[in-house]
């Protein structure tokens, strides 16, 4: 159990963060796209994420929580090093989260201001997340190349979120907004693809550890499915989006949404392979930083009971609010 528990928890942490990127990714993406919609469309866009955003955001608490519970010393080091971007991200998430409610509750005269705050919060949070991811991959030391790399990711992550947000809107909207969302998706795929490509190239260049793990035979061949699957997903998305809007309306929109999800999944797998078995690249392994077995075991019981329940009721909530979004109503 002593060897297995850290593995189990690092898996849960990875899955939580992946889920966060996908789920809050589409929320943040919708936030990033918000200024492009008309006034009425903005309401629908918000309505499309309304019942979900809160639970979506909880996945980052879960991810960071597992880091804190299972790998306390790594949690301390990582978050101390990422102090500035983490704080900026938190400020962004705060703004985004409250703007959601204030825009309809603080009065019509202030709605425009809160819409703008919603956008700014989403942008700040997603860029800060990119920055954090960048510094984390490069081993948390602030050399010039690493900083440039982090900035690069800070610009790429919002593009990914835009694609997630736009394809989510394809699921939840109809009419003119649907057509607009198709346009947004088309425009954001390319920046996302370029970003992804650059990041994949740059990662082994800035990190020797990662380069070593990838570029040795036969591992390299074994790892090929990861970039290939990403390329296929991206290609499929591009081809599907080229279709006429009216033909797209007949297509099950989940096919479009699933494409960026696959990209995220593959990126996560690639990242996991790059980092494993470290928790801080080149410095600390998951076993070195793991909490005491008694603490992990006690939490593990809770996870075994609670996690399946969480998954079940999350599915239930998504089913209750399935279908095209209508303006949110408390009645």
């Amino acid at each position: 159990m002593e060897t297995a528990l850290p593995l189990i928890f690092v898996t849960i942490m990875g899955l939580s963060l992946l889920l966060y990127v996908i789920l809050d990714g589409y929320d943040l993406g919708v936030g990033l796209l918000l200024p492009l919609g008309s006034d009425r469309e903005k309401d629908i866009m918000i309505a499309s994420i309304g019942p979900f955003w809160d639970a979506n955001e909880t996945w980052i608490v879960m991810g960071i929580g597992v880091l804190l519970i299972a790998f306390p010393s790594a949690h301390g080091i990582i978050l101390t090093k990422l102090y500035l971007p983490a704080t900026i991200m938190l400020l962004g998430l705060i703004l985004r989260g409250v703007a959601f409610d204030f825009r309809v509750k603080a009065g019509d005269s202030k709605k425009e201001m809160w819409n703008r705050i919603f956008f700014i919060g989403s942008l700040v949070a997603s860029m800060a997340q990119g920055w954090m991811l960048g510094s984390y991959i490069t081993g948390l030391n602030g050399s010039l190349t690493n900083t440039v790399f982090s900035i690069l990711i800070a610009f790429c992550l919002p593009a990914l979120y835009c694609v997630l947000g736009a394809t989510w809107l394809l699921i939840k909207t109809e009419g003119d907004l649907f057509a607009k969302a198709v346009g947004w998706a088309r425009k954001s795929v390319l920046p996302m693809a370029i970003g992804l490509f650059l990041v994949s190239i740059a990662t082994p260049l800035v990190s020797d550890v990662i380069a070593e793990r990838w570029f040795q035979l036969p591992n390299f061949i074994g790892l090929m499915p990861i970039p290939i699957a990403s390329a296929i997903a991206l290609g499929l998305l591009t081809i599907l989006l080229r279709r006429d809007v009216d033909r797209l309306r007949e297509l099950n929109p989940w096919y479009l949404f699933i494409c960026p999800v696959i990209v995220c999944l593959m990126a996560a797998l690639g990242l996991a392979y790059s980092i494993f078995p470290d928790i801080i690249i080149g410095q600390m392994t998951i076993w070195e930083s793991a909490a005491h077995t008694s603490a992990l075991m006690f939490t593990f019981y809770g996870v075994c009971i609670a996690l399946p329940c969480i998954v079940l009721y999350t599915i239930f909530i998504y089913r209750v609010f399935a279908g095209k979004a209508t303006a949110l109503s408390y009645d």
Partner: protein
Amino acid sequence: MEFDPFVLSRIQFALNISFHILFPTITIGLGYFLLFFRIRYTLTKDPHWEFIYSFWVKVFALTFALGVVTGIVMSFQFGTNWPGFMEEVGNIAGPLLGYEVLTAFFLEASFLGIMLFGRQRVSNRLHLIATSIVTIGTTLSAFWILSLNSWMQTPTGYTYENGVMIAESWSAVIFNPSFPYRFAHMMVASLLTASFLVAGVSAWRMLKGVGGPATMKVLRIGMIAAAILTPTQMFIGDLHGLNTLKHQPAKVAAMEGIWETQKGAPLTLFGFPDEELRTTRSAIKVPKLGSLILTHEWDGELKGLNDFNGQHPPVAPVFWSFRIMVGVGMMMLLVSWACCWQIWRKGSINRFSQRVLFAMTFSGWVAVLAGWYVTEIGRQPWMVSGLVTTAEVVADHPPGILITTLAAYFAMYAFLLVSYIGAVFYMSSKPAKSLIHMHNYGLPGKHPEDRAYSPIEDPVAKAADSNRSSINQTSINQTAGS
């Protein structure tokens, strides 16, 4: 000027947690009120309960959002500012926080969607269940976090293995000696905060002439709840105090401003604690009462601050916070009983009482913050009583960065607090749905749905009556659209 990173980190943490606690305090208590409104509606089918629910669920949603986003900050702060905390006691604190996320956060956040926006999509039964689940979720969240906090105050159930602290008995960790008292104290504090919030907002609506028949219903419930809860809270507070005396005597000595160990200690009502002179200046004292309250004996012995070898908390903040908390509690008792008396005699409350209630809308916040300052500052210099000091676990950030982030948080929170209070009163300034309902169906009592309601004879209701003609279709649409 030199800034100490330790002091800055403490200020930042205090700022974050003080701002955060404001919102869960309301949602924990307001959840039970909403549940009550919902159950009343389900049982009576009286539309007024539906109006009340639909108004307060919006306040709940806004408050909840603020609680969630400020709570996320907390989960990061442990690592960003107090990395040593998790390294020292992570094996105990970690799982407790983990259980909070697993059992409470997801539950609340997921079912909140149904509670807020699901009334058209699910049955009334399921909606009622969702409301209950969210309410239970907020309470579970309080359970775990208060368990952790209480453990930091009165650690039990731990042992050391190769120099690492681990749990020996999880039930001893979770149900540590101060936990039952602190949990009960906080739950009642939340309910009281919500009581005064609903009563205060209702009073304001009546003053503005936008309150309907349902408004008085809410005010009444708020005041009855407060009238029962305030004495309950004082009783629990007393028990909590006794428990603190047993486990953290230094905190009690600071609360009471007792410097020398003595038998039959007086109760200091007022005064200025001076740590340099080791005395409380211009103190107003009641002989022997201190011992009587704390030990329930006239000649009980109380340990003084001078006997803790400097290992005691800063006296003045604890001393003052305690008096503020008790003072607000006394006010609450007075106001709630006076209002209940009026409601009992006249079925309504006068304008003066309405103004007082409006002024006390957020009085629960003052008491809760003051109470937390007593217990948290009172724990110093320890992070975990007797085991880990706060200074041991702080992160070593450059003061410049800390000042910047502190300023950013401060600006953000000031802006949010103003926006929040502004939004609550903006929402309340719209004519009550029950008023519009009355407007649409003529005089109260005419419509079959109004039978459950008996009209209130007071100037405010009359003013509202005469205002009715001025409530045009636009305002009705506004309310309906919100």
